[in-house]
């Protein structure tokens, strides 16, 4: 255990004292600040415009009325399927979506929550600039760059060190391969999470200042907003879990590529897959391979959003189980692969 702690702290020290890490962090920060500044300018430009010209509002229905509406749609859908007029594909999540909407409406109705505040039922204005849009964009930038940073770090710290021979020097020390791999894995995860969380918190504060203290709306976006309206703390918790699960997935996959290929493969394969992930996933998903959704929708948040579950009827527990199995399998492959690998 002492060996693992020492190796972990050394790896963290190595990453956090790398100049490239901080240069990358500063670049993301500057980029986000530029976006924030331009966003604020746009916001000011739109403020003077006519409300009707810049966006719509919610449809004014109560939660109970909306629930009734979705129930009717669900019945209609089921009737179409039963009559054979509509073919139900494995990837069709209409029923799940409608069931989720009904459940949300009933929950809001029972707890006196205004459904108009929920993202699903709220404004869909095409020109309206809001703190939600800002937060979405910020999160996309932070998450996108953090992902790239995670891939680069994991490829460098594992496959890169095997490639340049420095891993050889480390392995001539009294330390097990599995311990060294765990330390490197943990250090990359910690560095990526730290960077992501620090940047997110930084822009929560900036966003709150720019958008009149609407900090909750600034950070809790898209999939999380619905949960946030009900329980903001749960939303933050889910956001962190989602971030952690995704970061872990990326680190594992990059190490996996490094085990099978060299340093270039460890960098190139995850980057290409990440950049074209949506295209590849959409192609496979539309080709009637529903289980692909297990991998493209690994984040638990997917199960919480309407139409988010990759397979009809899939619950958060089954998502959790799939995630656990996936992580365990990937971890086993990485450790066994590294134990058997000959170094230069």
């Amino acid at each position: 255990m002492k060996g693992l702690t020492t190796a972990f702290s050394l790896e963290c020290k190595k990453i956090f004292t790398t100049r490239a890490f901080w240069i990358f962090a500063v670049i993301i920060l500057v980029l986000c600040l530029l976006v924030t500044a331009s966003f604020r300018t746009l916001e000011e430009m739109i403020e003077g415009m006519d409300e009707s010209a810049v966006g719509g509002s919610d449809n004014g229905l109560s939660a109970a009325q909306l629930a009734e509406l979705y129930r009717a749609q669900l019945d209609e859908y089921r009737a179409l399927v039963e009559s054979g007029e509509t073919e139900r594909k494995p990837s069709d999540t209409t029923e799940t979506y409608l069931k989720n909407m009904i459940a949300i409406c009933e929950y809001c109705d029972a707890h006196g929550i205004d459904v108009g505040k929920l993202n699903t039922f709220g404004s869909t204005g095409s020109l309206r600039m809001s703190s939600d849009d800002y937060a979405t964009l910020m999160m996309q930038i932070i998450f996108g760059f953090s992902t790239i940073m995670t891939i680069v770090l994991a490829a460098r710290v594992f496959a890169g060190e095997i490639e340049d021979g420095t891993m050889r020097m480390q392995l001539t020390r009294p330390i097990k391969r599995s311990t060294l791999l765990t330390a490197k894995h943990g250090a990359v995860f910690t560095a990526s999470m730290t960077l992501g969380i620090v940047l997110t918190v930084a822009f929560m504060i900036v966003g709150a200042l720019f958008f009149d203290g609407a900090s909750r709306d600034v950070v809790l976006v898209d999939a999380y907003q619905n949960v946030a309206v009900i329980n903001p703390y749960a939303a933050i918790f889910i956001l962190l879990l989602f971030f952690a699960a995704t970061t872990e997935l990326i680190v594992q996959f990059t190490i996996f590529c490094g085990t099978l290929t060299g340093g270039t493969g460890a960098l190139a394969i995850p980057l290409v897959l990440y950049l074209f992930a949506d295209t590849v996933a959409a192609f496979l998903y539309n080709s009637y391979i529903p289980f692909v959704g297990l991998f493209t929708n690994m984040g638990w948040a997917g199960a919480l959003t309407p139409s988010g579950a990759p397979i009809n009827g899939m619950s958060i527990y089954s998502m959790l189980a799939v995630t656990t199995v996936w992580f365990a399998a990937m971890t086993a492959v990485n450790y066994i692969g590294f134990e058997k690998r000959d170094l230069k």
């Binding site: 060996g3 020492t6 190796a7 050394l10 190595k14 340049d164 021979g165 420095t166 050889r168 020097m169 480390q170 392995l171 001539t172 020390r173 009294p174 330390i175 097990k176 391969r177 099978l260 066994i336 692969g337 134990e339 058997k340 690998r341 000959d342 170094l343």
Partner: protein, 331 residues
């Protein structure tokens, strides 16, 4: 690099004296380097780097590995340090098995494998501290002593990327001996060193063995170094240990055997006479007769040829060198 006789470093193994007890044991090690995905399952075509290699190194011994390029010396050293995983066979040090207790095994070992590789963008000192921490932590004073010992004091705070090959070798040696290893493994430790550096490394190895009882396993292409330094030498060729000889055996073999080249008018009759009277191996090429002489009786051969009426034009004796022995054994 400082003169090692001036300052006694408190930085090397303290167990004095050499004993003839097996310390490092390599048993039936086989390694095939395979390509493709199937390599993870030990399947597929590959190159056999080590084929049933077994040897023992005694405590306090300097043991050399000698062989041509691609013979398997570096692979064997990598197997012993756990860098390369053998397909079969075992390696143990003082009873500790490498596979089952890598931490216990490697805590007794200091190794420098091929050209040492460090984090180039960091200083030599950073690299040394990093490796010392991975080792479990060493006092700063000991690291400073080691840096002084290998003669890197002036450059230790500059980036390793700016180091010459010789300086990298010195830093590699520093990280190998900093934790007082019982077994020091050096793979081509004098590559890139100037003549002074080579002499200093040689002195250091001898001193580690003579004063602190450190066992040394090292490989080199420089035959002279092997002859001067090693108590025993393993000759490796084609992934196999073809011979293991002590220094005495090597010296005896070199001193006793000479190749005699006699140019005469009747080389075939001369060859028959030499074989008949002395029992030596002969070979005739044109007018030259080559005789492998054992025991140094070259004058007797000359006298016998003249007495039998053979006209000797020239008579040259070439003493067998380690290079000849190396070529014979590794051919």
């Amino acid at each position: 690099m400082q003169d090692f006789s001036e300052k006694v470093p408190a930085v090397v193994a303290e167990s004095p004296g050499a004993e003839a007890t097996p310390f490092l044991a390599v048993n039936g090690v086989r390694k095939v380097f395979r390509k493709g995905f199937l390599r993870f399952f030990g399947k597929g075509e590959g190159i056999t780097a080590l084929d049933d290699v077994s040897l023992t190194v005694n405590k306090g011994e300097i043991f050399g590995l000698l062989g041509p390029n691609g013979a398997g010396k570096s692979t064997l050293i990598k197997v012993v340090t756990g860098i390369v995983v053998p397909d079969k066979g075992s390696v143990s040090l003082n009873g500790t098995d490498l596979k089952t207790d890598k931490v216990g095994f490697m805590s007794q070992v200091g190794a420098q494998i091929e050209t040492p590789v460090f984090f180039n963008k960091r200083s030599g000192w950073w690299n040394l501290c990093y490796l010392a921490d991975l080792q479990g932590g060493l006092p700063q004073q000991r690291l400073r002593d080691i840096v002084e010992l290998v003669g890197l004091t002036d450059r230790i705070n500059t980036r390793v990327g700016t180091y010459s090959m010789g300086m990298r070798q010195r830093l590699g040696l520093a990280q190998a001996i900093m934790h007082k290893p019982s077994l020091l493994i050096l793979d081509e430790p004098i590559n890139g060193l100037d003549p002074d550096g080579i002499a200093q490394i040689r002195d250091l190895i001898l001193r580690l063995r003579n004063e602190y009882g450190t066992t040394v396993l090292f490989s080199s292409h420089i035959l002279g170094e092997m002859q001067v330094l090693c108590d025993r030498v393993a000759f490796i060729a084609g992934g196999r240990v073809v011979a293991v000889k002590t220094r005495e055996e090597i010296e005896r073999g070199l001193g006793d055997v000479a190749v005699l080249c006699v140019v005469c008018d009747e080389p075939n009759r001369a060859a028959a006479l030499v074989t008949e009277k002395f029992g030596y191996r002969t070979k005739v090429q044109g007018t030259a007769l080559y005789v492998e002489v054992k025991g140094g009786n070259t004058a007797g051969i000359n006298r016998m040829l003249i007495e039998n009426g053979i006209s000797v034009v020239s008579f040259n004796v070439k003493t067998r060198t380690l290079e000849d022995m190396y070529k014979e054994l590794t051919r």
